[in-house]
Symmetry: D2
Subunit: 140 residues, 4 copies
Amino acid sequence: MKSSFNHTIQLRVRYGETDQMGYCYYGNYASYFEVGRVEALRSLGMSYRSLEEDGVMLPVSHFEVDYHSPALYDDELSIKTSIVLLKGARLFFEYTIHNANNVLISSAKTTLVFVSKVTMRPIPAPKEFVDLISKYHDGE
Amino acid sequence: MKSSFNHTIQLRVRYGETDQMGYCYYGNYASYFEVGRVEALRSLGMSYRSLEEDGVMLPVSHFEVDYHSPALYDDELSIKTSIVLLKGARLFFEYTIHNANNVLISSAKTTLVFVSKVTMRPIPAPKEFVDLISKYHDGE
Amino acid sequence: MKSSFNHTIQLRVRYGETDQMGYCYYGNYASYFEVGRVEALRSLGMSYRSLEEDGVMLPVSHFEVDYHSPALYDDELSIKTSIVLLKGARLFFEYTIHNANNVLISSAKTTLVFVSKVTMRPIPAPKEFVDLISKYHDGE
Amino acid sequence: MKSSFNHTIQLRVRYGETDQMGYCYYGNYASYFEVGRVEALRSLGMSYRSLEEDGVMLPVSHFEVDYHSPALYDDELSIKTSIVLLKGARLFFEYTIHNANNVLISSAKTTLVFVSKVTMRPIPAPKEFVDLISKYHDGE
């Protein structure tokens, strides 16, 4: 099911997230996208914390990111997170990050998989989630 | 120029690198690949530290990674780093990570760009590096 | 000069900041205190970013922290930062962190040192900072 | 019981562990001390991983560190870890870090607490550990 759901949050680059180039270290973007993802789900009506407490994990199986322009210390970044597709156990997200001057910092995609904590095997998305995302069903 | 240079190192998953799923957090692999890259360059005869001291930076412009199987706390991982292509200012790396049971944990690619610290613009790879990598020239 | 300046901010524990105990990893609190410190300075009227751009660094020389109760994933934490003393080049901060149920999570202290980027030696606090903090002068 | 057990390991400062000052970020030392601690226990004959699998956790309750001199990117650090005291459920470690020029980088102390994963309460150190550490009993 294609989705048109998206959500934007702001966060600041922390000092410890910079490296000696003076840029936000390339490995730290993964946690920014995670924050974007979690807050997107929360705004959709789903708590990732509750999901895990109900026995469902959502690990990342694929991650790709392009770094267009560096993010600097104390930059206030806007992270736009889009849920683009739910296909069986797999959930596809896309992201863009812009700084306060509206410069594109990075764009990224992740694939996550609904996994049972009991069997450790992929499972279909929980009905609660399907119901929430259905409201944003996009396309034929 | 295609290259056949590759290098393997071992490292252990630190406690702080796990998350509450009990897996190595997906965002921490970026620093593992960085370690692989730096040690590959060192074994080739190039110190990344010296490169920066000589006014050349090597930021990452693209990163993609597939997570095949989780890495766990204290797992001893083998990171194989391959330099696959040098094309103008751009240097292409590929990686695989296996655990001690030879299970494939992840595979990844990065693109890095030689950048002048003075102009902050892409520059051709330093001659010193081209000379080193030429010994591993692969292809016609 | 003793100071009574304090400031409180909220932040959430990120997924990547937990460890396999299910707790926020003990090493991640340092960045929480840094966020508290930077936002306290900003609310006082001083940008740490501008300070560095003006040639002054403020590295940490001492850090101590007591962990009273674990912080969990997605917990919304309140970080209270107090500037308690300015003594020559040294600036002393104290912190407490509480969760949303007002449980004390941790308490900490840091000592920071004003350092010149040129000489790399300690220097007296910049006059701009002394003027700002003087408004919160506490005691005889 | 006082102990004279100590152990030294080497590790290199990773690029992502530096900050824009060009120093190893103050928050990253906690993971260095953790590596020192885990390898000290391993050399003593105890696997921290096995300890957790046997239902015992060892969270940090107190951490203090003095930063004497900055660690730089790619520095090879020697971390000396000493187990100094076992007192009921509490285990006291001390650490020093030197660089390759034998400059003292930092010194630190941590207190850890043996905790049952079932009751989440402090418990006496496991007999297996007491037996191992007894060989290094120091003092009257």
